[in-house]
Structures are given as structure tokens and as C-alpha cells.
Amino acid sequence: MAESTLKIGTEAPKENRLGLKALDYQGGKSTLCAGCGHDAVSNQIVRAFYEMNVKPEFVAKFSGIGCSSKTPAYFLGRSHGFNAVHGRMPAIATGAILANHKLVGIGVSGDGDTASIGLGQFMHMVRRNIPLIYIIENNGVYGLTKGQFSATADEGSKLKTGVINDLPPMDLCALAVELGCGFVARGYAGDPKQMIAILKAAIAHDGLAVIDVISPCVTFNNHEGSTKGYTYSKEHDELLHQIGFVPAYEQIEISYEPGEMREVDLADGSRILLRKLEEDYDPSDPVQAITRLHKSVAEGSMLTGLVYLRPEKKSFMSLLNVVDQPLWSLDEAQTRPPKEALDKIMRELM
């Protein structure tokens, strides 16, 4: 099996460009089960923000309810966090970003939180293209309520109790593509290198980045017959391409054979490099993306990589055409029209 990422540039130094250490990006101690896929994702979030030189004070973390939604307490302790209500994190995150669009927003949700109770808000967040990194830690079960199937559980997969799921799974990547999301990826908690490449690209992307991460639940969905456990995922992981990420500040020339590599430029000047593993996969083609996702479901494989990329799509904040200064910080002089304005309105009503 091929490596999921491309080696680019040098190893990160002990301090990032802000003079901060990786420790400055740590959060509280995790209270999740030992071996939980979610902790692996949290670790990569810490690394990605550190290596991308994002000041933690300018990050806002959001989550809904569930095991996955606990994790924002376990990374970026110097960022404000908001553990909202079940399935409604997109609304909270949307409101916060409307108030302050300078925030770098990261939301962590789960398959129960997103695909069931929060499906409506998820879809409308995608439609709006809220500038936010939205991670779904997808394990096919409700962990915090002790192991019920979620809507992403595969057909025929088995609960620990022996119950078989006979409903089709919801593919959140396909749904995000369908609704026009400009950045759709699937990762696997057991492949940290690919995860960090995806996360870095997501941080650089202006707009919503949906990242569906297969993140096994060691307690309730990691047994024989489970299709979201470590063993199954490892055996069925199918890479769409090798991913390389070149941040804007790195002036690295990458040489590759014509046709071997696809390069995607992001608005901030950074680049995503995709080394083709499948000859003709074009991540800017939504129809192909959905077809490919359907194919992987039919074949029982777990397709990972950057499924769909359309970085030029306008984010909601630019559609709203708001002032550059965060709305929350506007003062009376900026938001209270003068007395003449009220006088005029009153005259019109006389």
C-alpha cells in the first residue's frame, strides 16, 4: 500500500514562526477510552495548528454533543471553546463567525451529532459555505449512550450485542459534495500523516472544509463484524491520492512528471499537491466525486483523501459583504445612524 502523503520541506523546528511551542497548542487531558480514534485526531489538530503557525487565541472551537464533541477540551487550551447542544453546533459556529469573521473556526462533531439530529444544520452550513473546519469523527455508533447504531453505520454491520444494521449508511462526504461544499475530505484516525496534510489544507482554505474521519470506537465498534473498527479500516483503506501541502510561506519548488501530479492553489497562496494514484480522478468534478464515493461503498472499501476541492467558491462572509472589522467590535459611531436618519424615518411615517 502506498504512503498517503508526500514528503515536502523540512521537519518542523522546536518553535513555530510565532515563537510558540507545540505545548502551547495542547488542551486538557482526554477522558475518552484508551485507544479512541478521536484522541489521535486531537493530536493531529494540535500539530496542524502549531505547524501552520495559527495563534491559538484566534481560534474558536465548537462542538455538539457526544464523545467526539468532548474533544475540543483536549486540544488548543488557549482557544475559546464552545460545547453546544446536540446536533446544533453549526448554528453556534455560524453565529460566532458572523460576529467575528477573523476567528479561525474549528468544529468537531460525530456521526450521531451530524448525520442524525444535526443533519439539517449540517446541510445548511454546507449550503452557506460558512468559513469553518468541520470534522466528523465517524465511528458508526453512539458511544456516549453506549453503543447504538448511528446513521453512518454500514449495511450489514454488527453491534457488539449482535444486532445487525439493515439500513443504508449516509455518506456525509457525498452529501457535502452534493450541496456544493468547496472542500470535502475523508481521513482515517489511523493514518496521522494523511490527517495532518488534510488539516493543514483545511486551515488554509477560505470556506467550509468538511472532513469525515473514520475514527474507530474501541469500546463499542471495534469487534468482529464491525466495519468501522481499526482492523477493518486498515484492511479497507483505499487512497485516492498522495497528499502534499505546501504552506504559503514555503517557497519550495516541487518537480514532478507531467500528468503525475495535480496542484490546487488556495486563496492564501498555499498549495495542495495530489500525486495521482488513480489515473483519471479529478477532485474538482463533483459528479466524479460522488460516483467514486458510491463505487467505494459498493465495493466495501474505505476511500480516503481529498475527495472534492473547489477553493474558489465564495464563503458566506464575502456573500454578506460585511465590513472588514469584526461586527462585534463596531461601536456607536459605526452602528447607530445619526439623529437625522431617525428624523427622516419619522417624517416618512407622518
Binding site: 495563534k55 448554528a91 407622518m350
Partner: protein, 635 residues
């Protein structure tokens, strides 16, 4: 005019030789919704207003786009009584579906203009009828059938004007205003007015019972609906994030706000100093408001009862995690879809403790368009001061009907942004602070905003148990301390919310308590009780939850206190009783819940009956005549 179409006046009583009743008249217009009658009714109302006569207009419309019965009541009253009055003096019958009921409901001696094919004159003999061939008259004005329909409505304005003496010049002025100076729309409408005026002058017998005469009681006043007033208030209150989901009767609040913001809140380089989002539902709408409030914005949404129900979970989060945000509830008749286009004050209990667990909410209750304006600003200040959702309880009658008012006062006080620690303050504190620490002893903690550039600025917001440093906790003593502090914060709010307005008459032994739009029938009822029965009644108008100390004091001063409200169970009465202890025996409830605004006479009669029989603790009033029910039975 063709002779066969000449109007008939059936005068059963001898023509009144008595002096005409000047500037005290209720006009009731029955039309079909979607026929464009709203513009005509607005013009009619506005032209009376422009003649200096106090006037109010109430639209009773169905939950439907076109084809169902709708009524518009205009009450002109020289003494300024602008509450609803049930008795109709001048009826305009344009709707075949309701004509019989409309006519049957009239008081003997009243006037009735009707569309000729309805043949209303055959229905009874004790009403003065004016038959008008509207189709023929409209046909003389326009070929296009849609336009004819619209102009028909303007013709009745001309007829009414001629009959009661509204000046043509004022109607033309009102039309110009209505159609925003667009000559193409103004001309045909003025032609229709003239058609009506001329027809009435040439064909209809004069009446001298009711007259509108020029007076000077409206000069300098404005006409506006409560929703638009709230929108203007929010704009001048510095709202920056607005979310909404369409629901009658609240939609026009945010729609007005969008219009005003586009006009007055765009910078010179064309950028918006606001974000307005139409959400996917009310859950998302309130979630965005609280998210924005958390990040420091002055945020608000507007909805009605069903939306409030959907916001319930988030309301609990907002209360417990201490998130600012303003929620307008333009109340309508419930439960469920109820009567979505009719008015009520039925969400009091729901809002007072909205959500699960122990919750208490601060609510403001405006009674007028000017209070809608003021409270829109006040609510934004209170939300940030108290870091909690603030509800504003309006209703359909206030929100969607047009009201006369003095112009609003320009707000001069700076915004109150609450206890927010800046980067500099955090530096002074050496980074030592606790999100939920009650530093000042008022129950209101300090907060920081995301994006504050200080390594100790951050905290973790959660709806689960947390200690005073926002750390997760399930400890019994920590939870108890948190909710006890929240109660202390609520106690503090009593010093900040608008006080009730109390009007005492020397020597009164009984009192009224009311709030919101019930104010209008109460004031008129007090006048009726005073002038007709010599009975003085004191009055306290509540303007907020939590109650302030004035409530217990007011009840203590009286033998009996009548709480009048527009719901079945007397929700505010119950909250008041909970507050009072022993004194609650003095509370009496008068309840009006027909979907139509409460009227003074119903209240007056109830008080008289209950003063006769002190054991009567609750009286339900206001059963309406058939003509204001929905004949088509639309659900």
C-alpha cells in the same frame, strides 16, 4: 348612471334629527383576502389621521394567500380611544361569503355600504343600506380585470369618504404616501376615489349620524406597526447579527429591519455593518443568535409561539452557559398552529421559564409602538449586561397593526456592553480571572470574547456542569452554587428592567393589572367605569419579568386586583399569584381569548359583575359575533 342601479336607502327609523356624532365612529370593511383591500384600508385610515382625528386600524385576516374572508376595522375616536370596539357603525360589505353574517351582526341604526349583487338590503330593515354597483363603476375605470379588482376597493374609500365627510385632498395625500409618489399608481387610484365620491354624491342619500370633522389631535404624530418600530429600535440599538425564520406574525419585523439596514447601515464603501441571515428553522436562528452573542455581537431574532417552542433547548443553554441574545416573540393564538393570524398573549408562562431544568428568563413587554422601539434597544443592552437571552413579548395586534404614536426619541445613551474583560484588563489581572466568578456580588460574572489576544483569555463554554472557572464539574455543591448564583443574577435584574407604570386615582379600592396591548381596553374601561358608574380603578401596567417590588405593593394597596390578559388560563395572573403568598386571594382574572383584541366593554362588564359577586375569581369574556369568525373554516 343607470336608473336600475340607483342605490337604495332603507330608512326604518326616522332620520335622526339629533346632532351628528362627530369623530367617534367604527368602520368595518369585509373583503376577500388577496384582493388588494389592504392598501385601500390603509388609505382610509391614514386620511382620517391626516384630518387630525385619532384613529386605529386592525386587520383581521385569515391564514391564507387569496380568497378567504378578511376584515379591517378602523376606529376613529376624538378622545383617543384606540382599542378595539366591537360595535360597528359603518359596515362595508364586499364579500359574498360573509355578507349575511356581517349584516346580521350590525347594531340597529348602523350604516351599511354593500356591493350591489349581495343584495344586503333584503336581509334586515333596521339598518341604513347603500347599494353600490362596484363592478360597473370599476368597469368605467379600467379594462384589465386585475386592475378593476384593485380599483373596486379604492372606490369604496371614495364612497365612505363622501358619506362621512373625509376630505378628498387628504385621501389624495394618503394615496400619494401609500404608493410612494409613483404617479403611475397614484393616478388610477385617485380616479377610483373620484368615481366613488361622485357616485355617492349623485346617487346615495346623505346621512348625518356620523361625521368626520377636522380636528388637531394627530399633528406631529406618526403611524407605524409595532414590528417596524421594533426594527427601527434594533437598528438604532446597534444590532449587528440578526437571524430569523419566517413565521406570522413576526416576519415583518426582520423584513422591515432588512429594508432599514440596507438604507442606513451601509458604509461609504458599500459594506454592511450587520449580518442578517434567514435561518433554516427557529432552532438554527436562536443558535446563531447565541453563538453571535457569545462572540460579542449584539444579536437578535424574532419569532412567534411555535418558534419559541423550538428554541426551548437553546434557551436553557443560553441561560446556563450565560449567553447574550434577544428573542422577540410576536405572540399569536396557539397551541400549535392555532390561529396563526390572530392575536393573543398566550406565551407568558412558556417564555417565563422556557427550557428544561431550573430556568428563569428576563422578558420585556412593550404596549405601544414607541415601547417597541425603546425596548428593542433596552433588550440589546440587557442581554449584554446580564449575559442571558432576553425575550421581548409583543403580539400580533401590536406587531402587525398600524398604531398612532408620537415620533420616537433618538437614543443618546451609549450601548451597555456588559462585563467583558479586554486584553489589557487581563494583563492587569495577571491573567487571573474566572468566567463564572461572582466578583461583584450581583450574580453577574465577567467574560472574555473569543479572539482576545491573551494566553489566559480563553475558557470553555458548555451546557454541562461547570465551576466558577468554567471547568467541567458534576460536584453537587458546584452545581448548586452555579444555579443559586443564576438566581441571584435574576434578582439583580429586578433593579434594571423597566418598572411597571402605575396610575392611581385617589381613593380607589380596586385595581387593574395588565400588560402589552391589553392596555388599550383597560384605559378605556377605566374611563367607562368612572363616567358611567363613578367607579375609580387604579391601574398597574407590567412591563417586564422578573416582577419588581411595585407589584406586591400595588396588590397590598387594594381590596381586589383584576388581572386582565388575553389567554384562557390567566398565565400572568398565575405568575403574580406565585409571587404574592397570602395576598394572592385578592387576585381576580378577566380573560379574553377569542383571537381578536380585547375590547373595553367586555372588561367593564366583567368588572361590574365581579364587583357584585366577590366570590367570582375568574371571568372569561369576549365571545364574538359570527361575522368575525372565519366563515370558510380554513385551518
Amino acid at each position: 348612471m343607470s336608473d336600475t342601479l340607483t342605490a337604495t336607502a332603507v330608512l326604518d327609523e326616522p332620520a335622526a334629527a339629533a346632532a351628528p356624532i362627530v369623530n367617534d365612529l367604527t368602520i368595518h370593511v369585509a373583503t376577500v383576502n388577496g384582493s388588494g383591500s389592504q392598501s385601500s384600508n390603509s388609505v382610509l385610515m391614514r386620511s382620517i389621521f391626516q384630518m387630525g382625528v385619532p384613529v386605529s386600524g386592525k386587520n383581521m385576516f385569515p391564514s391564507n394567500i387569496a380568497g378567504l374572508p378578511t376584515w379591517f376595522t378602523i376606529r376613529a375616536n376624538k378622545d383617543g380611544w384606540i382599542g378595539r370596539k366591537k360595535e360597528v357603525d359603518l359596515m362595508v360589505c364586499m364579500n359574498t361569503q360573509t355578507a349575511r353574517e356581517d349584516v346580521e351582526a350590525l347594531q340597529p341604526g348602523s350604516l351599511c355600504i354593500y356591493d350591489a349583487p349581495l343584495n344586503c338590503k333584503s336581509m334586515r330593515g333596521d339598518v341604513t343600506f347603500y347599494e353600490v354597483p362596484f363592478a360597473k363603476l370599476a368597469g368605467e375605470l379600467a379594462q384589465d380585470s386585475r386592475l378593476r379588482k384593485l380599483l373596486t376597493n379604492m372606490i369604496y374609500v371614495g364612497i365612505v369618504a363622501e358619506l362621512i365627510g373625509i376630505e378628498r385632498e387628504e385621501i389624495v395625500h394618503a394615496i400619494t404616501k401609500q404608493f410612494k409618489g409613483k404617479q403611475k399608481a397614484i393616478d388610477p387610484n385617485v380616479a377610483a376615489i373620484d368615481k366613488g365620491l361622485e357616485f355617492a354624491r349623485a346617487n346615495l342619500p346623505k346621512q348625518n349620524k356620523w361625521r368626520i370633522e377636522r380636528m388637531n389631535a394627530t399633528s406631529g404624530k406618526i403611524i407605524i406597526d409595532g414590528n417596524a418600530a421594533a426594527a427601527i429600535g434594533a437598528m438604532f440599538g446597534g444590532v449587528t447579527v440578526v437571524t430569523w425564520y419566517p413565521i406570522t406574525p413576526s416576519s415583518s419585523l426582520c423584513e422591515s429591519l432588512i429594508d432599514y439596514m440596507k438604507q442606513y447601515r451601509i458604509t461609504e464603501d458599500g459594506k454592511a455593518t450587520f449580518a442578517i441571515v434567514q435561518a433554516e428553522d427557529e432552532i438554527a436562528a436562536v443558535g446563531m443568535v447565541l453563538g453571535a452573542g457569545w462572540a460579542g455581537a449584539r444579536s437578535m431574532t424574532a419569532t412567534s409561539g411555535p418558534g419559541i417552542s423550538l428554541m426551548s433547548e437553546f434557551a436553557g443553554l443560553g441561560y446556563f452557559a450565560e449567553l447574550p441574545g434577544v428573542i422577540w416573540d410576536i405572540e399569536r393564538v396557539g397551541p400549535s398552529t392555532g390561529l396563526p393570524t390572530r392575536t393573543a398573549q398566550g406565551d407568558i408562562l412558556e417564555v417565563a421559564t422556557l427550557s428544561h431544568g431550573d430556568t428563569q428568563h428576563i422578558a420585556l413587554i412593550p404596549n405601544s409602538v414607541s415601547e417597541c422601539f425603546d425596548f428593542a434597544i433596552e433588550a440589546l443592552d440587557l442581554a449584554e449586561t446580564f449575559q442571558t437571552p432576553i425575550f421581548v413579548l409583543s403580539d400580533l395586534d401590536l406587531g402587525m397593526n398600524n398604531w398612532m404614536s408620537d415620533p420616537f426619541t433618538y437614543p443618546t445613551k451609549p450601548y451597555r456592553r456588559g462585563k467583558v474583560l479586554s486584553k489589557e484588563q487581563l494583563e492587569e489581572l495577571g491573567g487571573k480571572w474566572g468566567r463564572y466568578l461572582d466578583v461583584d456580588g450581583d450574580g453577574i460574572p465577567f467574560r472574555t470574547l473569543p479572539g482576545t489576544d491573551h494566553p489566559f483569555a480563553s475558557y470553555f463554554t458548555r451546557g454541562s456542569g461547570h465551576d466558577d472557572h468554567a471547568r467541567y464539574s458534576e460536584k453537587p455543591e458546584v452545581y448548586k452554587a452555579t444555579v443559586d448564583r443564576l438566581q441571584k443574577k435574576y434578582e439583580t435584574a429586578k433593579q434594571y428592567v423597566p418598572k411597571p407604570v402605575i396610575d392611581r386615582r385617589g381613593g380607589a379600592t380596586i385595581g387593574f393589572i395588565a400588560f402589552g396591548t391589553t392596555h388599550y381596553p383597560i384605559e378605556e374601561s377605566r374611563h367607562q367605569l368612572r363616567t358611567e358608574r363613578g367607579l375609580e380603578v387604579d391601574y398597574m401596567r407590567l412591563r417586564a419579568l422578573p416582577f419588581t417590588e411595585e407589584l406586591a405593593q400595588f396588590v397590598a394597596e387594594h381590596d381586589r386586583v383584576y388581572v386582565v390578559e388575553q389567554n384562557r388560563d390567566g398565565q400572568m395572573g398565575d405568575l403574580i399569584r406565585l409571587e404574592l403568598g397570602e395576598e394572592q386571594r385578592k387576585i381576580r382574572k378577566i380573560l379574553h381569548y377569542t383571537g381578536l383584541p380585547c375590547d373595553a366593554r367586555s372588561v367593564t362588564n366583567a368588572v361590574l359583575q365581579m364587583e357584585e359577586d366577590h366570590d367570582l375569581k375568574v371571568l372569561r369574556v369576549g365571545v364574538e359575533h359570527a361575522a368575525t369568525s372565519n366563515a370558510a373554516g380554513e385551518d
